[in-house]
Symmetry: C2
Subunit: 343 residues, 2 copies
Amino acid sequence: MTAQTAGRDRITLDADTPDTVRLGVEQARAIGERALKRIGYPDDEARIIVDQLVDNALCGYRFAGLPRILAIAGDEKTKQARRPVRIVHETPCSALLDGGNNVGYIAAYRGAEVAIRKARVNGMASVGVYDSYYSGRNAYFVDKIVREGLVAFHVASARPRVLPLGGARPALGTNPICVGFPSESGPVIVDMGTAALMWGDVMLHAHLGEPLPEGIGFDEAGRPTRDAGAALRGGVVPFGGYKGYALSFAVQALGLLAGAAIPRGQVQDYGFLFWVVDPKVMLPDGGFESRMSELVRRIKATPRQPGVDEIRIPSERASRERERRREEGIVIERKVIEALEAL
Amino acid sequence: MTAQTAGRDRITLDADTPDTVRLGVEQARAIGERALKRIGYPDDEARIIVDQLVDNALCGYRFAGLPRILAIAGDEKTKQARRPVRIVHETPCSALLDGGNNVGYIAAYRGAEVAIRKARVNGMASVGVYDSYYSGRNAYFVDKIVREGLVAFHVASARPRVLPLGGARPALGTNPICVGFPSESGPVIVDMGTAALMWGDVMLHAHLGEPLPEGIGFDEAGRPTRDAGAALRGGVVPFGGYKGYALSFAVQALGLLAGAAIPRGQVQDYGFLFWVVDPKVMLPDGGFESRMSELVRRIKATPRQPGVDEIRIPSERASRERERRREEGIVIERKVIEALEAL
């Protein structure tokens, strides 16, 4: 298993075996930060990256955890020069950040910080970040914003991996959409890719030699394929037919608003956009959080189909798993730790 | 065919028959405005409603055109008292509007006007509208905003028609999402419901006695059904599985930000939300429109699957049809005009 397989949902690793180690949160953090510092990240950036990776592992996104450090270390962009993330343009309610070729874990984090600061003062904010790459789990940034009592909308455009409807070549990124809301019992977050399968999941299928589900993958000549390796050189379709295509298109366009085309003149490139609104500027009675909790309660109380135990709310599973693993610890493969210590 | 069937995409009526009349835009406007004034709408509101209905007809949304006036006339809410739409709370970048039980064609239009005004001054705006109902085609409002050079995100929550994943009863509205962008050749707009089938299309199936596609409809007891009439008393599933469910959930929550729960204390109710951003506050070089056009060109230039004539961009078909029908006129059933004249 390589760290390249990061991103697959719900592949949890909870059983202790001779090949695994169970780590407390602080132990996992220390291992991750040491590894990142060895490959040149300063203390504060190592801390920011590891905070997300540990949170991803706690929430059950196994390959989005510490193994990602191996992927960061091996990434071509990581080996290129980077400059500090900086604001290149701003108004009271907006900011544009040059990501300085920093990995998205850092660049999007800085964007989220600016968005929080501006939304607190002005009631809302639009913040874009360009010249960056892989930012990990969008819900991590949105969770951070929502914990400040704010509503957050966050999209990330990327380089082409996804075929437009009727197309034989990728023209859109995997283009995730994330929207988060404060409630009386914490953040409630919708986080989804607009591709039919996460790119990390295509990588995982290729690594394991498993066939892709029918109708998802296309090879580099644009022919349908169930061979995940061939799809890695081609692309995948959007989820949900023309509606998913339309959403993916919208995210690519919102990436332009975040400056995606600035560093390389390419309109199909990375752009991280945050729109943040303080619910108090909308609802003078301050009742957003209680209404959000009531909406969650009402949807969960919907009569169920036979055999369905529970109506699930977006992010509910991840929140529960985070609480559980904070107690039980994170299970990591011994060879991942060895690889991290050898960086 | 009743006016209740409004909303079905792409059902165009272009052939002249003994049962149809072909109208120029001004003729269609005059018939619509006369009918609305007869049922009590003042001049300016009649003009606003008809402007959308005629635009919908021009764009090829046949049942979203003048026949909707018959539906408005017959709606229970139209018969209840209405108050002028008014701003009940505002900050420099936000506003909350009490829709005063006015039909959404009017209330959302007023919301869009306020959003444009505030975004022009402050660079961005968040505007919510509550205590309203059916607002028609969201792309109409977004088109209006985008023609001012602004980027617009618009969602509309509604009363339950859509089953949550695993549910046996509706708990979510049909909850459309609309995002629009200015380009060098005019607005480019993504407009989609998060239900697997538009509610107007379920009505149309029921009216025509046609079975629904498999797996979409559920009756009032929560059992799967292909009987559209039974689904009207039950509900439909979201599009695209759990991702569509998650998006529908997000729209319902964004409706709360627009004040959906204020008039009746119900968290599952109508709320129209507009987020509008002036691209100039994000991109100091003012290059958004040209980049947007470049994105459209690049996606359209994607190599195609065998048998595919063209890669379509969202809203491209509607824009073309609008241009064509401006010349050729709108074809309307004679009995619809008779019914309008008899109001």
